[in-house]
Every structure is written in C-alpha cells, then in structure tokens.
Symmetry: C2
Subunit: 314 residues, 2 copies
DNA sequence: AGTGAGCTTTGCATGAATGCACAGATCCTG
DNA sequence: CAGGATCTGTGCATTCATGCAAAGCTCACT
C-alpha cells in the first residue's frame, strides 16, 4: 500500500507484545513466529522514528508512545471483533472453522465421540477444540462455542442447557475398604467440592491432592483413595465402583453457549442442533443412571433450557 | 497470523472500494495494484462467506454487510490516523518523508527553487509535493503541510502567515492597446476575482475563459487579452507588463499550515523554519514590488503571523 | 458504427515476508 | 553449581503476496 507508516495489522503486533510482555508470548498469541514479531516491531519503530518498547531484562516494556498505540489498538480490536462477529454471524455456509472450548473431562468422558459424529455429519466444517478451564467471554472469537458446566452462564452469552451433570463418590473395586481420599488442591479452583468435603468431615483423610479432575480420576484409578468424580467420566471405568447415590449438592447444569452475534451462523446453529440432539440421548449417562458401556435407554422428554443472556426466552 | 478471518488491513481495502466505487479507484487511493485489490477482496469474502459488494455494471456497490464493515473501517481509520499523527509528531529525526501540498501557481512561480534549497539543506528528508487545489484538512496524513493563499485558514490546523500575495492586471507588451480580457470560468472557483471583474465592468469584454491560474498566465502570454495574475508569477515573465498598481481587494495572505499533532515533528519544524526564513527574503517578490529577475532587497521586519487554530498566539 | 478510455479478471515472474533452525543469554529449580 | 526452560536475535531457504502485462468487456463520444 501507500508507503504506509503504520500498517493496521502492526497494531495487533504492538498490542500482543504489551499484553504478553515478550516477543515469544506475542508470537504465540498471534500464531506467528517470534522472529516475525521481532522484525515487524523493529521495522515499525524505524518508520515511526519512535521507540515503542524498552528492552529490559525482564522483557519488553512499553514506552508512553507504546502505551498510546496499544490503547488505540485495544479500542480498534474491540470494534473489529464486533464487526467480524456480525459478519461471521451472517455466514450461511456449512463449512469453515468452528472453534469450541470445553473442559478436559468433558472432552475425554463425553464429547470426543460426539465431535467425531458431528465431523462425520458435516465433513466441510473444521472443528478446532481448545481444552481449557479458563474464563471465557467469546468476544475476541478465540472460541465460537463454549461447552461448560455452570450454574450461572455469563450474561453476555446465549445458549442452551443440555443436561445435568451428576457426580458421586467412586472407589477402586480392589480397594473398597479404603478410608483414604483423593481431593482437590487449591489450584483446582473447585470451592463447591471443597465445601462438600469439609461438610462430610473427610478433609483430614485426604492423602492425595490433585489440580485437575483428570488427575482425580487417575488417582482413584490407582487406588490412592476414594474421590468425587462426574458420573459420565467414572462410569466408563470398569475398575471403579460408585459408592452411594449421586451427590445432589454437586449436581451442575451443562451449558452450550455462544456469542449473540454468532447464534445465526449456519455452522453454529448446526452444531447446537446436533449436540442438543445427541446429548439428549445421553441424559442417563450424564445423570449417572446407567453404565456408559451399556446401551442407553430412550431419552426423556426435552431436557434443555435456553439462555439468552437477559433471562428472557427468545 | 492466526488463521485470521479479517486482517485489519483488509478493512482499508473495503473502505477504499466503498469510497471510490471501483477496484481501480481503490487501488489508486491505496497505492496498490487494482489486481491486488481484486484478490484481497475476493479472499476476504471467501473467508467470511458473505458478499461485501454487488458487482454491477456501474461498479462495486456495497451490500449491507459491506456498509457495516466500511462503517467500522471509517471509525478505525480515524482512530489510527490520530495515533499515527501523535507518534509521527514525536519523531525527532531530520529524515523520512514530508508531504507538502500547494497550488500549481505557487509551485511554478515561487516554491520550486525554495524546495530545492530545502532539499539541499536537509538531504535526508524526502519531499513529496502534491499539486492540488482541493480542500485539505491534513487529518488523514495525505499531506503533512499545506502552503496556501487564504484569508481564513481552517480552524483545525496551525501555522504561520508567511507573506501577502499581491495581484495586478498584466498585459502582453506587444498588445498594450488590447481591451480584451482573459477571465475565470466557473470551474476555477475564484468568486473574489469574478466579483472584482464584475465591479470593474469588464466581464463583457472577456473573450477567453480558463479553469486554472496557469491557464490564465498562458492566455495573457499569448496575447489573448489582459488578465489578473499574482505578481510573483507574472513579474518573472519579461513579455508581460503590469498595468497599474496591485489590486488591494484581491490581496491574499499566504499561509504555511500543518496539523497540531505534527507541529513538533522535527522535519516539520525544520521545514517551517526554512520556509519562513527564505520567504522572508521574498517579500518584495510576493508584493509585486520588484521584478523577480532582479536581486531582492533586504527583507522587511518579520512579516509572518501565526495561527493556532483557536486564534490565540502560542 | 467505430474508437478510445476505463474497468475487471487472470497468468506468470519477482521479490518481500515469513518460518525454521540455531546461537547466545538469562533465569529458575533441583 | 549444573541443567533445563524460555527468551532474543540472526542467517538462510521457502512461501506467498504482489505487480506487470494482457485479454475481454462496457460505456461514452465522435
């Protein structure tokens, strides 16, 4: 283009460096080589004749000029993310990329074959699955759809509840008598489980702490003690036995969520329909009412409710 | 970058097509090949799965989606132009590009050798001169500095008055008796001259009309009649003779103007200083008080005044 | 009706941008 | 103190975006 001093894409480079505080981190965020970030920043600073970052031992620290540029870039990013969502929301094709975020346990215990089925049904849609337990608002289109257990879906998102996740205490079949427990560490970030274990008075018997639910499964499978696990995950394991009934206090709704601007995107709608249909046949599995290895009984009446972000049915 | 659906630079492409209504026009505005514009738009529409333009015989017409995107792009352009100006305003180097806009007559009759002198003084600064009589606000950095005759500099710009441009009636030496006139046509857009000619009662004697002041000069030089010309332009022509004194009603201040964000840019400051100094030695030339071919007398006391956009001396 | 100007679209060659691999430096952990 | 992880910076090969040139179409003017 015109001997352009400030290519608009360079603003994304600067913003990413400010956010990540390093060239390497910015490269990861943008999906480009850190070498490219290095060169693009250097070329930009040369054209502007202004330093945007101080190079310190601890990383790249923005100057006042760098902050000024990053502030504009952040505002621009918000505007462009919004128009991109509106445009993608008009995409009527059943092709292209669909980014889905979910938890590691849901993926391993429930969704992997559902996704495979979706892929088979819609071969021209590319599913990109990001396993993450991080906060999500879907505004930056880092994901298009979130599948999450939550009692309070974010007000900014819309979607459907597609089931209730039951949890129960499980123990290894060869260690039925153990009184030891596997529990969550502080990193897991599961206050409801912590409260339940305190209420049951089993905190003191906790001999093994983990920072993920997959770690919890692995611990119980290894006979390290008994532990609370989602039924859809644990019932698949022949080596584990459920102790007692599902724990009502820990039952959590499972939500399928997207950004309001994307709800009319053809591939988002297709995904929602497919997942709702398939998951309606998995209600027993989610509720822990039947072994996952056994054929599921016919599904109940429609189970899902919808969430419009404002509480009103749409 | 990340398999990016909407590269930020693509917004500039879309905005330019909306503004110019053609790929060729957009390419010219952006300084890139129309083929590139064609490919970039096509690739963007393919990624979005949405038509941004209808291809009509009369050109590219934006769809609602295209308008939506262009609206965001215009807002983004405003933000990025502003931050670019602030950053360029901090550039302390006496190098890089400096874009200057001025009129054809000023360039031909006064400024060409002044610019050459500046270039010699500051060899690392690249002057890009755009000859234009168009409206200018310098917000988009299509020019950094404007040199213009005007009684009312735009409120949004800052600068200095560097002289008074005198105008007078000139006639070819071999046609001193002619009563015919060369005058402005409606395209020239010079209402003050039209009013003056009407007031003098010479409209009816107008036998040749032109749409530029260079055309006016050419006409008088060809003996087509007498005409009003800037003294700095006409006094250089040995073949022309001034008839009477300068015309006070048509005297116009000459301004050197820039955008407030750029006033501290080193090369802008250098340009202002250089031009002010050189033009102060050309006051007689501007006022039509001495032949341009004769050595100029020592300049008067400081003549220029400054304009801060808000009327206050800074 | 013919011609010229301007626009859109496409194939091919070129050069610039990018990624890869590597070297060197720094910091943190065992 | 040593080793591993991470980051910055650079040289080289590769990839891809771009410009150029050309073909074809449309419109306006003579």
């Amino acid at each position: 283009m015109n001997a352009q001093i400030l290519p608009w894409d360079d603003l994304r480079i600067v913003l990413a460096i400010v956010r990540q505080e390093s060239l390497a981190g910015a490269g990861r965020e943008l999906g480009i080589s850190h070498a490219t970030v290095f060169r693009r920043l250097g070329a930009l600073e040369a054209r502007l004749g202004v330093w945007l970052f101080e190079r310190q031992r601890t990383g790249y620290v923005p100057t006042l000029a760098g902050d000024d540029l990053a502030t504009t870039a952040a505002r621009v990013a918000t505007d462009i993310d919004a128009v991109e969502r509106r445009l993608v929301g008009q995409d009527a094709r059943l092709s292209g990329t669909l980014r889905v975020t979910t938890t590691d346990t849901l993926l391993m215990g429930l969704l992997s074959d559902v996704f495979a089925g979706f892929q088979h049904e819609y071969p021209h849609i590319v599913l990109e699955v990001e396993v993450s337990n991080r906060e999500y608002n879907l505004s930056h289109r880092d994901a298009d759809i979130a599948i999450r257990p939550t009692k309070l879906p974010p007000e900014t998102l819309v979607g459907r509840q597609v089931g209730q996740i039951a949890q129960a205490v499980y123990v290894h079949r060869h260690h039925l008598e153990t009184s030891a427990w596997v529990g969550p560490d502080s990193h897991l970030g599961y206050p409801a489980l912590e409260r339940w274990m305190a209420h049951e008075g089993v905190e003191a018997k906790c001999r093994y702490r983990v920072d993920s639910m997959l770690g919890m499964l692995a611990g119980v499978r290894s006979g390290m003690g008994r532990g609370v696990l989602p039924c859809y995950l644990a019932d698949r394991e022949d080596s584990l036995m459920k102790v007692g009934e599902s724990l009502a206090p820990l039952e959590t709704p499972l939500w399928l969520l997207t950004h309001p601007d994307l709800r009319r995107t053809a591939r988002v709608m297709a995904f929602f329909s497919y997942l709702s249909e398939v998951l309606s046949t998995r209600q027993a599995c989610l509720k822990g009412e039947v072994s996952a290895s056994k054929p599921t009984s016919p599904c109940d009446e429609r189970q899902s409710s919808e969430h419009d972000g404002d509480g009103a049915e749409s």
